[in-house]
């Protein structure tokens, strides 16, 4: 960074950055901007929008004015509940991914270098298959007469099939399975850089295994853990395949709600756009909190 920002290099640097700015501008910012504009437009009944500016979409999300829209406004809980369910499902999926992903990453990082490649490869193999297909397969696995239940019945561990399909647990399983590698990989990357001689030094100084894990290993790989949590939490918040296919109508998440608004002719584009903007704002808040927290611990460190 230093020195290159002076003289001929500054001009050159801007030119070299141009492709990145173009991509970010065209593919990231403009869709968000279109969404923002659409969320303030009026819906057209067969999908699409009418160019009349209104707050109707946000009004619909937060306020209940009765069936014909003529009653005094009350709080509308339907969508907030869906939003709330998305948050806790995503949080739970993040926690579950962390609980399983952390030991997995630890295990891989402590193998000999040649074996690590093989283990990492095995973690990613399922993800070569399309997410839709994997989610449908999950549905077949856990349905009432699916292989999981049949096996449990056959071994005598249960006498009635466990009903999972169309429950929040099934959605949770789907989310967990979809995003597990997003936790394993960043935690592994941090763990690989961790010097295990620190663990030996802790043991040398009479620390137990658990104390070493909590006070030496985890603080050292914390950036990887935070990155993993963000990478799991954000797509889980907006997920629609797992809630649609495994959760059914009663386990709607915000992602499914948005998807509905743009599917076929029954949708409501401004409302979908508004729900997207609300989701985006929530995610931005999480990221802002994270960067704030990072810079604070960063300052404490230096």
């Amino acid at each position: 960074m230093t020195g290159t920002s002076t003289g001929v290099f500054s001009g050159l640097r801007n030119w070299l950055l141009l492709p990145s700015w173009l991509v970010i501008g065209v593919l990231v910012l403009s869709p968000v901007f279109i969404m923002l504009v659409y969320s303030f437009l009026t819906k057209e009944f067969r999908g699409g929008v009418i160019w009349d500016f209104t707050l109707a979409a946000y009004d619909q999300f937060f306020l209940d004015r009765g069936l014909f829209g003529d009653e005094p406004p009350k709080m509308e809980w339907t969508y907030i509940n869906i939003f709330w369910r998305s948050i806790w499902q995503a949080l739970l999926a993040t926690l579950l991914c962390l609980l399983i992903g952390f030991p997995t990453a630890y295990f891989i990082a402590t193998r000999p270098p040649s074996a690590r490649t093989v283990w990492l490869f095995m973690v990613t193999v399922p993800y070569w298959v399309n997410l839709l297909i994997r989610t449908v397969s999950m549905k077949f696995l856990i349905r009432d007469n699916g292989p999981v239940n049949e096996w449990l019945l056959a071994t005598g561990m249960i006498s009635e099939p466990i009903h999972l399909i169309n429950t929040p647990i099934a959605v949770q399983l789907g989310l967990f399975y979809s995003y597990l590698p997003f936790m394993v990989l960043p935690v592994y990357a941090a763990m690989e850089r961790y010097s295990f001689s620190l663990s030996e030094a802790a043991a040398d100084l009479y620390a137990s295994k658990w104390f070493t894990l909590w006070h030496i290993v985890i603080p050292s790989v914390r950036p990887g853990i935070i990155a993993g949590c963000i990478l799991v939490f954000i797509p889980s918040m907006g997920a629609f395949l797992a809630p649609d296919l495994l959760g059914g109508a009663r386990n709607f998440m915000i992602g499914s709600l948005i998807e509905e608004q743009f599917k076929g002719t029954a949708g409501n584009w401004p409302f979908g756009a508004a729900a997207s903007m609300i989701l985006l704002s929530a995610v931005l808040l999480v990221l802002l909190y994270y960067t704030h927290y990072q810079s604070k611990t960063g300052i404490a460190k230096n």
């Binding site: 001689s197 620190l198 030996e200 030094a201 043991a203 040398d204 100084l205 009479y206 620390a207 137990s208």
Partner: protein, 366 residues
């Protein structure tokens, strides 16, 4: 008390890996390290020094043998239960903790109360002369300072034995030399047993009470620095410690206190046996003669025991080094102090005599 044994290592053997691709790191190591001793493991890189140290620390299991610490076997104790602390080669300081917290870590794990930890940490910071640095993080210290923190951290819990794995190797020469004195001073003021690993013979000779020379996983010799230097047990030790000439020869005759040896080129020399075992007649041996144990004289003088041709002389500062070829085949290195006025009497190509300080010549068979 002085002769009490701190660590008794008996017939320790260690293989890494298993089956056909296993490597033998240690073979049948037996050694007793005394209480309050500065004991050094010396040997070339890869000879198994770190492995032996890690076995004592509890970081590595081993196939055979026993380790007794002050009378009790520690073979079955995990690392965090052994009253032994380590100064790691790359220090392994906890990066997210302050210097104080690093030093107090062991005491905290031992369940000492806060006041006690504070007091002992102050004491340790004082000992390693880092009193003003307690609140910094390891990354904010220089290499030499980090090294001292690592030492203070290992010393703070007052372990019975301190293990040090090449702690000075990452420092530059000046710092390394001053840290040698520091280490000795600290050990003497605390009265602990130090087991110190190095591949640097100068470091070993200047710091140690006793040295164990290792090669390829085996102990070659254990003794005081003088003992190791003057009475090397075998060719490896003679060659590894200091510089020496190893001249092939045959034992022609032995008497009660001397052996008549014929050098490969045909010249003969008589070696006293007062401080070494008597060889057999007909043995092929290597005569180990250190460069500083020889002097140059006129080839026809009575004191010349060997004669040869001066090939080369090199000025080394305090010393002058001569290369002398004897019998067209063997090159001998002779070193004289630069202050001697006889230095410039010889020129390359001259026939010269060599006077050998015969009491220091060693006959080595293996």
């Amino acid at each position: 008390m002085a002769d009490e044994i701190a660590i008794q290592i008996t017939q320790v053997t260690k293989f890494y890996g298993s089956g056909t691709d296993s490597t033998r790191a240690l073979h049948d190591i037996s050694v007793a390290i005394r209480h309050n001793e500065f004991f050094t493991l010396l040997g070339p890189s890869g000879c198994g020094k770190t492995t032996l140290l890690r076995i004592i620390g509890g970081f590595e299991d081993f196939q055979n043998g026993e380790i007794i610490l002050h009378g009790n076997s520690i073979k079955a104790l995990p690392a965090n239960k052994r009253p032994v602390n380590t100064v790691f080669q790359h220090y392994a300081l906890f990066p997210h903790m302050s210097i104080r917290d690093n030093i107090g870590f062991g005491l905290k794990m031992l369940g000492k109360n806060a006041a006690e930890i504070r007091e002992r940490t102050d004491e340790m910071l004082d000992l390693v002369k880092l009193t003003e640095y307690g609140h910094r993080r390891p990354a904010q210290l220089s290499g030499g300072q980090q090294q001292r923190v690592a030492l203070a951290r290992a010393l703070a819990p007052a372990p019975r034995v301190v293990l040090l794995d090449e702690p000075l190797s990452a420092l530059d020469l000046k710092l390394r030399q001053s840290m040698r004195h520091e280490l000795r001073r600290i050990r003497e003021s605390l009265g602990m047993t130090f087991i110190f690993v190095t591949h640097d013979q100068e470091e070993a000779l200047t710091m140690s009470d006793r040295i164990a020379v290792m090669s390829e996983g085996e102990l070659q010799q254990v003794g005081s620095p003088e003992d190791i230097y003057n009475n090397p047990a075998n060719i490896f030790v003679a060659d590894f410690i200091g510089q020496t000439n190893l001249i092939p020869g045959i034992v022609k005759a032995t008497t009660a206190d001397a052996a008549q040896c014929q050098l490969a080129g045909g010249q003969s020399i008589e070696v006293p046996l007062a401080r070494q075992p008597t060889p057999n007649r007909g043995d092929t041996v290597k005569l180990s003669i250190r460069p500083e144990h020889m002097d140059i004289c006129q080839p026809d003088s009575d004191s010349a025991q060997i004669t040869g041709v001066l090939k080369e002389q090199v000025f080394l500062g305090t010393d002058m080094q001569f290369l002398i070829e004897i019998d067209d085949s063997i090159l001998l290195m002779v070193r004289l102090q630069s202050t001697q006025d006889s230095l410039h009497r010889w020129n390359p190509g001259d026939q010269v005599g060599i006077r050998v300080n015969i009491g220091f010549v060693r006959l080595l068979t293996s």
